[in-house]
Symmetry: C2
Subunit: 119 residues, 2 copies
């Protein structure tokens, strides 16, 4: 297991929040679940650009953090479903806003020169 070497300020809300849902694919995963993609295999297909491995890992972390819940049936084929917990639902307005902001920003920089503002 990975052992962190630099200290973190766990008094800072931003730091805590970023730890819980700030990883590369976590907001996308939460968004996918909200849009109805509940099975790992569905998310793997939905979120292109991410490897299945990293989605599995970040989903697990979200579960450990209490943001998503896992429901597994023992039948065949294996059927696993992740859902947002009550706590997880409290994050969604934030993620929605981040998403909106990003889309607006993209519009905005459409007519700026690449020199002045660039991604």
């Amino acid at each position: 297991m990975y052992q962190r070497k630099t200290p973190e300020d766990l008094e800072c809300g931003i730091t805590i929040a970023m730890k819980v849902f700030g990883a590369k694919w976590k907001p996308c995963l939460l968004d996918a679940i909200q849009r109805g993609f509940r099975r790992p295999s569905e998310m793997h297909r939905e979120i292109k650009g991410a490897t299945p491995r990293v989605l599995d890992m970040q989903l697990r972390e979200l579960e450990v953090s209490g943001i998503v819940g896992k429901c597994q049936s023992t039948g065949f084929p294996l059927y696993t479903e992740y859902t947002l917990t009550d706590l997880g639902r409290t994050i969604m307005p934030i993620i929605d806003r981040i998403n909106e902001w990003g889309l607006q920003y993209k519009e905005l920089i459409g007519d700026e020169s690449p020199q002045s503002i660039s991604l």
Copy 2:
């Protein structure tokens, strides 16, 4: 200059937004500016845990992205001031909410066992 190797989905609002203000210290910098710490040297003192170098770099990126503006006088000692642009101010409600969420989460996990939920 660093050349990215993995592709990014610049259609995704979350990805764009995270690129603009999702770096480790950017939300803290914006928060610091909002709280009145406008000079680089003030921010260096205020944001402990971050090295001055990384704050300078991320401040520069925020400037390039049009989130903060820079005002410099040529006197002595050098006096530089960063301020939020109109665009930058549109991010603050999001950062405030992220911060609030993190603080609430910290309260919440106070009475959970470390096994069930951990940072």
